[in-house]
């Protein structure tokens, strides 16, 4: 595997790509604090300018670009960040993640239409509700490992959707309509003059949530994404992140080193669920009506694909993966029904040439090289290189 000298050009290109990003990552790891802040700032400014028409005409010739940026792109990114906590960090395979997105969405719809709470209140309530439902799902199931956990979460995702479909109070298959938009925070308009026009955001009212302009919703989503990134990153670099990593590597050894593994797995589930729920609340607040089929299993699978494709466990990778998974099918809308075929082909190619994901974390990459980090080992299968059945410690 390490012999790179006499292989075909494609492999060499692949290695080149790989080492390029390794260098980049090492640079980043040793970069001084101020340099990082500059990069963060530049990225945020770029994200703010992203909905500009000039960008949109290339990125999205078929659909309204700001709306596309809000959902699926922004939504997928937020969900992928949440699922990455569960799958990428704690190593738990969750195939029913869409359930938490649905719970957030229905929280917005129910509290907004029936109890007339405001968006901001519902955002808090929805996040808490999702987190609690994550705990309710996790408490009995996280004792399971591997494939069993995957199956149970798969079932949970379906249960939530089917319950919504069969409950008259929340509209059954017709769903809930007339969901209020978030109250506008301000009528403030970005000045419609030369400079702001030139960069494409002149005349936008970024804090006024109306029915027409998608940009304010995108900014709202952006805010949540940034918050989720900060939150996830801080956890990753703390004892919590270390505990998750140790669980992923060798759950038995972790527990014997004093890690309350069950508690930390539950925490990962709750945090993942909370982020998914936040995504659901914002999604519903923009889309006026939601129906159970907005939350199909395939969405769970797509978000998981985004996480794996981007590089499970590595936030920039996961964000990139989510962006591509959301954007490619929209960009190639012109191919009509063939677009799904092309999209599938792209996914297959990526997995052939970048099995560890586009921007894998170093640790994940190493796990894959050992042959224990593929789909099977995507963490569902927790165990060290010497995979030992539960309880068979040491012998």
């Amino acid at each position: 595997m390490n012999d790179t000298t006499n292989r075909n050009p494609l492999s060499r290109a692949r290695d080149g790509y790989s080492s390029f990003f390794d260098t980049l990552r090492d640079r980043w790891a040793t970069a001084p604090r101020w340099a990082r802040w500059v990069v963060y700032l530049v990225l945020i400014v770029l994200a703010i300018l992203l909905p500009a028409d000039g960008v949109g005409s290339f990125m999205s010739p078929y659909t309204d670009w700001p709306t596309l940026l809000f959902f699926p792109i922004g939504g997928y990114i937020l969900l992928a960040i949440g699922l990455n906590v569960v799958v990428g960090q704690a190593g738990l395979l969750d195939l029913g993640y869409v359930a938490f997105f649905a719970i957030g969405g229905y929280a917005m719809a129910i509290f907004g239409t029936k109890m007339h709470m405001s968006f901001w209140e519902i955002l808090v309530v929805g996040v808490l509700l999702s987190a609690v439902s994550g705990i309710i799902l996790g408490a009995p199931t996280l004792r399971l490992r591997g494939d069993y956990l995957a199956i149970v979460t798969l079932g949970f995702g379906e249960i939530v959707r089917i319950v919504a479909n069969n409950t008259d109070y929340i509209g059954g298959p017709r769903g809930i309509g007339g969901i209020p938009h978030p109250p506008s925070l301000s009528e403030w308009t970005i000045p419609d003059n030369g400079f702001f026009d030139a960069i494409g955001i002149g005349g936008v009212q970024p804090l006024k949530y109306g029915a027409l302009d998608g940009k304010p919703y995108y900014y709202l989503m952006l805010l949540l994404i940034v918050a989720a990134i900060i939150f996830a990153k801080r956890l990753e670099n703390s004892r919590v992140g270390r505990a998750w990593a140790s669980i992923r590597e060798d759950e038995d050894a972790a527990e014997l080193m004093g890690v309350p593994t069950f508690k930390f797995k539950l925490a990962a589930f709750a945090i993942g669920a909370a982020i998914g729920g936040a995504g659901g609340v914002v999604y519903a607040s923009q889309s006026v009506s939601i129906i159970p089929t907005n939350f199909p299993f395939i969405l769970s699978a797509t978000i998981l694909a985004a996480v794996v494709l981007g590089g499970s466990g590595n936030l920039p990778g996961v964000i990139l993966g989510a962006f591509l998974v959301a954007w490619i099918p929209e960009r190639i809308r012109g191919l009509q029904e063939y677009r799904v075929l092309v999209f599938g082909g792209v996914l297959v190619l990526l997995m052939i040439f970048r099995p560890e994901g586009l921007l894998p974390s170093r640790r994940r990459k190493a796990e894959l090289a050992e042959g224990e980090g593929g789909m099977g080992g995507l963490g569902a299968e927790v165990g060290g290189p010497v995979t030992v059945a539960a309880g068979e410690v040491g012998e």
Partner: protein
């Protein structure tokens, strides 16, 4: 010299820190440990030896909470720990290493040890997510402690390396550092010298003594007789899950039952 169950051996280093009282461990029809009584005194280096399959590692698994004994009690520092969860046992002050190295292979050496140090940290999710002051303090302390321990076991210069890239001997020592990071009163070492060369074994002896000198009790399983005889204060011999002898190294070496059951065969047959 053979001795009756529960009677402490003559050379007492201190009060018992760990007592096994009538431990029996059955797996289906197989009796892995049979009515084992053992008292490990504070501050001693106690060796558990015996042929393969004698039940030595099972004893470790019972003590650390991996198995709940079928019968009997495990008393550590005056309170029962059998039936306690594994991480609770660790928090009370029992740490171990593994026969087959079980590091967190893709984490750095430093991170491995920091996981151990986290055993006594209290920061919850909110503290970590918001970067609260006590969390930062714990991180700093944990890191300092880990670096100190890596220095102590002699792996400090490789602390940023991924655990699996360390040479085998260093991996073994890293495992000891990780266990020490949980601040154990009692350290269980499961064949720490396995696969080491003579120089490394020499260093290991020194390390184990150093650990004892920091006030910890060491219980170890080992097949290397010169190492065992060199550092143990007392030795117990297991065969087919039963204790066939217990005493000072010199007594064990001349014990006929031990010679028949164990010392007569090559010591390295693993």
């Amino acid at each position: 010299m053979s001795e009756t169950a529960g009677v402490p051996a003559e050379k007492k280093t201190g009060t018992p820190v760990l007592e096994l009282r009538g431990i029996t461990m059955r797996f289906g029809g197989v009796v892995a440990i049979n009515g084992l009584n053992l008292a490990i005194n504070e501050g001693e280096i106690f060796a558990l030896i015996g042929p393969n399959g004698a039940g030595k590692t099972t004893v470790f698994n019972v003590v650390t909470g991996v198995y709940r004994p079928t019968e009997g009690q495990v008393v550590f520092a005056g309170s029962r720990i059998d039936g306690k969860k594994r991480y609770q046992v660790t928090k009370r002050g029992v740490a171990r290493t593994f026969q087959n190295v079980r590091l967190f292979h893709n984490m750095s050496a430093l991170e491995n040890v920091m996981v151990g140090a986290d055993a006594h940290h209290r920061t919850g999710l909110a503290g970590a997510a918001l970067g609260l002051p006590w969390h930062r303090r714990e991180e700093r302390d944990g890191r300092a402690k880990a670096e100190e321990l890596l220095e102590f076991v002699g792996v400090a210069r490789r602390m940023e390396e991924t655990a699996k890239n360390l040479p085998y001997g260093d991996q073994r020592r890293l495992e000891i550092a990780r266990a020490l990071a949980t601040d154990p009163k009692l350290l269980l070492l499961d064949e720490p010298a396995a696969g080491m060369n003579p120089t490394e074994k020499e260093e290991l002896q020194g390390l184990i003594r150093k650990i004892r000198d920091t006030g910890r009790t060491v219980l170890l399983i080992e097949h290397d007789m010169s190492l065992i005889m060199g550092i143990s204060d007392r030795i117990a011999v297991l065969d087919f899950g039963q204790k066939i002898a217990e005493g000072l190294p010199a007594e064990i070496q001349t014990n006929q039952r031990v010679i028949d059951a164990y010392l007569g065969v090559p010591a390295d047959a693993s």
